[in-house]
């Protein structure tokens, strides 16, 4: 093990030296969990990559590999990028967490940025994520106002804190404006699988849902809703504007470009250091897509007011009084949730009639 890491770092040092002599381009690698054409999560990361190219022009070279399975395959792809002389590597799925740290240990001179994880075992690993739950709050508000059947369907991906947080945030704000609202949650166990997502959407519509929220990346649920005719949806990760103005009435947009540009700049300047970034609507990492005319004007105004309040920090999406699902107190009146609680959230709030898969 020690010998291998010595060998690889020696090889890397050589590789770096040769590339540095050949040109002084900063090489940035991206490892994607889905195809760049997924229209959601990976699509937005790739837009971030293109923004880095557009911003720095000849000073950077970007490379990417798409549809990389989490596990040993991702470890190999990261190692390959590091060997090929990458200076900075963004690994954009939760499941890349241990592989990212494993590879980072072998290449101390390469900087690694892992999206949505929490492990920074080495000084050359950073983590970053976005406060998607702020967008979920706005979605929940609109959803609560728009539903006529009072049944909101939710296509969830994996029962990890990020997804549970989104469900809670949406539910809190939907039930605030519509106390009769009920959430039906389907766990798809995938980030991207158009067939499964379409099935989930149809199942929810059959159960009476007339609003569908999704935490999966494809546009299949939008298509299913369009077919059903009277079902409201929201774009996920990307604007999904091709389904506007209806069924898609708004969206949560991940905007990674400013972060990717800033981190690439930091590597160029030699100021890069390991840190954890968790930005929301305020700094612009989370965007709210155009609220279409299918939403009544007063609801749209309320949603935009909430967006402004979330952005300037005058309102927090998790503000008490709130109880946990089992009735025990979670937040007192006026109290807001701290980041630690949010980061590890593994319970539903009171009122959600479902169980987190165990």
């Amino acid at each position: 093990m020690k010998l291998t890491s010595l060998l690889t770092s020696a090889a890397l040092a050589l590789g770096l030296a040769t590339t540095a002599m050949a040109d002084d381009k900063t090489k940035v690698g991206f490892v994607y969990v889905g195809p760049v054409g997924d229209g959601g999560w990976t699509y937005e990361h790739d837009k971030g990559r293109q923004a880095v190219e557009a911003h720095f022009g000849d000073k950077v070279e970007t490379v990417f590999v798409e549809s990389v399975a989490e596990g040993p395959d991702s470890e190999r792809v990261m190692t390959q990028m590091a060997l090929d002389g990458a200076d900075l590597i963004f690994t954009t799925s939760f499941g890349y967490m241990d592989p990212t740290n494993n590879v980072a240990a072998k290449f101390p001179n390469v900087k690694f940025e892992h999206a949505t994880g929490y492990k920074r075992l080495h000084p050359n690993v950073s983590t970053y994520s976005a406060r998607f739950y702020e967008g979920r709050a706005i979605q929940g508000h609109i959803a609560g106002k728009m539903t006529k059947s009072n049944i909101i369907g939710y296509i969830a991906s994996y029962p990890i804190p990020e997804v549970i947080r989104g469900i809670n945030s949406a539910y809190i704000h939907a039930s605030k404006v519509n106390p009769d609202v009920e959430f039906k949650i389907i766990w798809a166990y995938t980030w991207f699988d158009p067939a499964k997502e379409a099935d989930a959407a149809k199942a929810l519509i059959d159960q009476g849902a007339d609003v569908i929220l999704q935490h999966t990346d494809s546009t299949a649920p939008q298509a299913a809703a369009q077919e059903a005719g009277n079902v409201v949806t929201f774009g996920q990760a990307s604007d999904m504007g091709q389904y506007a103005p209806f069924p898609r009435v708004s969206s949560i947009i991940d905007d990674w470009a400013p972060y990717y540009i800033a981190r690439t700049q930091a590597v160029m300047d030699g100021t890069w250091e390991s840190m954890d970034t968790w930005d929301g609507i305020g700094p612009g990492m989370v965007g709210i897509g155009e609220i279409s005319d299918a939403v009544p004007a007063d609801v749209k105004a309320e949603a935009l007011a909430m967006k402004a309040a979330l952005a300037d920090g005058s309102y927090h999406a998790f503000t008490g009084p709130l109880n946990k699902q089992d009735g025990t107190p979670f937040l007192a009146d006026g109290e807001t949730a701290d980041d630690g609680t949010l980061a590890g959230m593994n319970f539903y709030v009171e009122g959600i009639d479902a169980e987190i898969p165990q």
Binding site: P72, Q80, N102, Y158, Q358
Partner: protein, 347 residues
Amino acid sequence: MSLATPLLAVVATMVFGGALFAVLGKDPVQAIATIFWEPLFGEFAFFYRPQLLIKGAPLVLIAIGLSLGFKAGIWNIGAEGQYIMGALFGAGVGLAFYPMESAFIFPLMVLAGAFGGWLWAMIPAILKVKFGTNEILVSLMLVYVAEQFLASMSLGLLKNPEGFGFPGSRNLQQYASAHNAELITGTGMHWGIVAALVAVIFAYVLLARHQLGFAIRVTGEAPRAARFSGVNPTRLVLFCLGMSGVLAGLAGMFEVSGPAGQVTIDFNVGYGFTAIIVAFLGRLHPVGILLAGLLMALTYIGGDIAQSQLGLPAAAIQVFQGMLLFFLLALDVLTNYRLRFGAGEVV
């Protein structure tokens, strides 16, 4: 002739794959060279060669098991499920002992992994011999059941208690007694690769020298003749499905305790299905399977390099891999049958 077709298929894939890459605006020669040459003899071959073994070993191990059944006309399509169950049983036994350190833990995990795969393969086997169900359907459907087990284990019983509520087990790479580590530093050689090589030799001897191997071959080529020569079809079904289950389970166990490290919801990446291609690409012959497994691994690893260095889309690499099987099957038809155009007479 049948030995030449795999080589011809590879050449045809290179030609048509090259044409595809050219249409995509990439230099076809460079693309093919990146996929086939770079991992073996490129600048960083010292890293890629061990990776070939790591990627190829589970494919070979599973494909050897499948080939025994395929030769006898017993179609186990559910190796993916047996692979998952082997991993769950193996990892489960290892994690049950955590944090105790003992030399007995890893051998126990190997046994548990083999047992898990065997158990899962016995379901279609027993249903087939008792009730005459179709093993293709049953074994395939059990893959989805196994995936649900995997999700449930990652979220519940085997979840890392120190994982902040995130799904996935403890990392076995950080638990010395349960870690399927590299045997010789820098070679990538782990117990799974040793097992794959042993399986190749074992299958070769079985098919060439042993009576059971004879029974398998006769049943596949002439089922009636097999019955007359005293082959017991029930025992053969149980053996072939059981053996492929054992090998798939072992592959899963070696993968989860070594390269993958953890039980996670997405642990399985399709080795059980790719192994079917490997088995046929290798003409159901043990040595052929060994070479086919390495070739498949090469296209995966080279494909990832081509994506990153040349910007080829992942879908183009998948088409390239699909071509390989397509040409093999197409050339088989041409080797075994003569095409006659025009009005044929119905006999």
